[in-house]
Symmetry: D3
Subunit: 216 residues, 6 copies
């Protein structure tokens, strides 16, 4: 018994240092502070609760009001550091994708992360293109996981006749997202410059710029 008493006293001294040291096992993002190259500054440990580690927003499909049409329902909900501050500094983040039949996630890339998709519902064809210009794609069924290595162009399309639901993991708390069409056609990228560097025809560019809201 004496032994336990002395030990517990010893442990109290450990705890004491622990208290002084403000040892952080995690770094829940303080979104009001500026970012650094390693992520957001940490919220004070005393203010952290279990809810900082739980995200319920992926349990429901995105609100379809206005963002779904008859043929092409697609919606994404993200749980990156900005939505889910608990992932800050931990090296991963998440998202949910819903697609109605015919749904498409257009060609895009994540500059700072690899991606993995888990098919929760439906059938999907997903793929990526490597630096060697090889297309790796496959039709996936419920329960399949496919990985899409960092920074490479990839896509996902509903390959069935039922809705698709996908859970997405990224290997970064802040993966970035570059959708090809939006990168090219939704901004003021000058059409001549775009034609010269993409080899697309000007009429094709003009058509898509009109569509995606681009100018120039």
């Amino acid at each position: 018994m004496m032994r336990m008493i002395s030990l517990i006293i010893f442990i109290f001294s450990l705890l004491l240092f622990s208290c002084h040291a403000a040892v952080q096992d995690f770094c829940v993002a303080d979104l009001t502070a500026p970012e650094t190259p390693a992520g957001y500054a940490c919220k004070k440990a005393a203010n952290v609760t279990v809810d900082d580690f739980v995200f319920s927003g992926l349990g429901v499909a995105a609100n379809p009001t206005g963002t779904f049409t008859k043929y092409y329902k697609s919606a994404i909900t993200t749980a990156f550091a900005a939505q889910f501050p608990g992932v800050n500094g931990l090296g991963f983040s998440f998202a949910r994708l819903d697609q109605e039949p015919g749904g498409v996630v257009p060609i895009h890339a994540h500059p700072g992360a690899s991606e993995a998709i888990l098919v929760l519902e439906g059938k999907i064809t997903a793929g990526f293109v490597s630096s060697a210009n090889k297309v790796y794609y496959k039709t996936l069924k419920k329960g399949d996981v496919m990985i899409l290595p960092q920074g490479l162009l990839h896509f996902q399309v509903n390959a069935g006749s039922t809705p698709v639901q996908i859970f997405v993991t990224f290997s970064s708390a802040n993966p970035g997202l570059q959708i090809l069409d939006y990168s090219l056609f939704s901004n003021d990228f000058p059409s001549e410059l775009l034609a010269a560097t993409s080899f697309l025809d000007i009429p094709q560019i003009k058509k898509l710029k009109a569509f995606f809201g681009g100018t120039g």
Copy 2:
């Protein structure tokens, strides 16, 4: 047209270099080669196919034969680098957990990775203990994601009356796994030493050693 021809020739020269450079966007594990601190050596790119990036083993529950009982069905299937060589070097890996009502994943830790759990079916109570000895736990419903920061002790128990299915993400291709009871009671950890360093009573230790197959 001349422009395109010259460009394509230019691009061929890019490809040529690319070919010489053996540029690797990924490093699918060659499991026959020894590991390094950064992971396995890479399989030759020429031998990589789309199937190296797809894992279908998480789509089915583990075979219950012999590993499930009437009250406590629990089974895990992993997709770490050793089962899913495509994740080698990419910084994440995956697993699936199935629990019948009453199922428990006992207290454990992953020495080299943070974990995130997504509830696919059922209701689960999950939690972890921080360095400050605070227990963060919550009962999660389908669609909830909870993160369990690197190296900390944590647990998951079926909190409902229906089966639980969970998709697990780790922030490493090789997260490790240290189950508390197995660490203490399944091996030749001398009981006296264990009692001295755990403050458990010898009878408790003996009982659990008998149960988990330990000696000493």
Copy 3:
């Protein structure tokens, strides 16, 4: 001589840039600023003195008043970033452990760092358990160094009849610390949940909770 004159002028121009660049070879922690995933913000270089790089607190044993008993003296002094701001960002930190005969450091883990112990006085039995549930332990004499890989449960007990003094190195400026008993028995971890996830008997849990100050 002309050569030297021109060179020194050149070097002054180097210094000038250096001054503008505020080149930092180190990042002494400003403990008043919030932490980031990479550590504390840096104290201004102009305010850094040699004392920021020297820590004298490990040269003396912890004050035994109240924390030592007749049979189980054990005390730890830490030099983590919070106590020794100079280690911030450098990837290591330190501690000192003193144990009277019979002293024990109970089973614990550091979620974010490997540990190395150097025996300065006495004889110690130290060990860790791997993910494969193998116990690696050995009795060490003065001058021995033993390493305890990241995140794994480990322990140290005085194996002799004289006091033990140990110098500890961690591979992180902020290694964290999770003492098993305190994680389980010093907080409000519900006893039923703990029993279910640890397989300890309720009476054992209640006894240790009473001892370590836990509730629930």
Copy 4:
């Protein structure tokens, strides 16, 4: 003098250890060994010469035979780990770009590296598109350096009437390269799938596939 003698003896003992330790300050790639996620295995230090650290291939423009046309001369020479084994493990690599008037480097990205371009000759318009779909571009003159952050689509076009020569730095020894048109039009990416995920019209796709050698 005695002092120096003893010191030199001491230093010999340092050297001795150094010899045993096979301390490596660098890791020149052994291109015959398999890659790992951290790069190639190291050539034995004893076989390393100063020539492993020098690359002369960027001092001359690429041979134009067959790869240049009247209007669109463009050629690239790379010094990645596969061509310049000395950069293995050091975190950077290099390339040279030559462009005749009208030359274009089409839209592309490097999945694993940021890029910096230094204009050595001529006038160039370079730019990239961010995740927020903003186009950042500028016409650069000789001596300007522009950085293109990791993984983002970017381009370079000769903006003058004289040849352009550019020195390129990457923040990785193996940066990867994904040229948009080649990713889409030089392989067997099925046209229907490409149309669905790129929103390009089928005739445009067919035209470019014919041009870039694609099928499907």
Copy 5:
């Protein structure tokens, strides 16, 4: 057409999240904020312009007024994070070196970065010494690239009869710089201590201290 409409709506929802997430592909340094071990805090993305990614200061030689002499013209201009905030967090930075005939960059090291030099004009002899005390040096001509691994002592001297211009890349946004002579002779390093630890003769030390402005 319906398809495009629905898709664009889907993409708008992506953009919306993107906006909330404040996804950062880059982290242009806010030089007014304190540094962290990972670099400076990021300037708000909304305030970033293309000019943050362009540095024109390396296009001109340093102003020779007062810093050049008849025989030893040498000047350096740096583009580290403090001068070129765009490189913050990207893992590289740059500099330009100009040398008149006879110019010398004295022995120095960069504690936190490897270096690569590209000869733009003239002929230079550059070299470094390894941990094994082997000197690797070579005379380089225009267009040659030589790498100088991290933390090792190295030097560059004009080996020709014409001016030298060199473009320098570092594998860090903040490489540091330690010039041997200035480290030893420009400060208050006590001469006796310096003699004891460098084995230089006191008169040599005194002569160089007088020259480089040192005291003690």
Copy 6:
């Protein structure tokens, strides 16, 4: 009891995967395999014993035979990855320094690691020079710890009249070592080139080259 039985079965299934996964918590160096930029390849886990984690070589002073003189005893014993394979991949390594009265560790740097010294016996004056050419030095007593940031020139001299014993920690398993005098005077560094880049006088260089065994 049923509960425990089912659980243990569940855990056996975990162990089974663990066995297949060959989960490695550590990567003890296989010194017969080539190094990689991340360290040596791992010894097979089945062949690892507790002795791979214990190093006893720092418990004794280096053998003085031939390496000690009457006035300047100094000897170093290292426990880097090459001597202590267990540290491979763990981010630290160790050494022991012994100095008789008057002992000196001459000015040197570790290109790839920060260093920390713990004074075990005696009194020492240790210091380093920063990129800003400031000398930070202090006389340390037994029990003091001083840190010497990565890549910077530093030194240690016996400041008392009794032997000094120091325990050294490095923040890398392979820290490298560049001793200034040996870098300059023990090899074939041409004297003229050395004079030009160090500003030392030729007679001083010749004297030290004669002493340290250099040529040229």
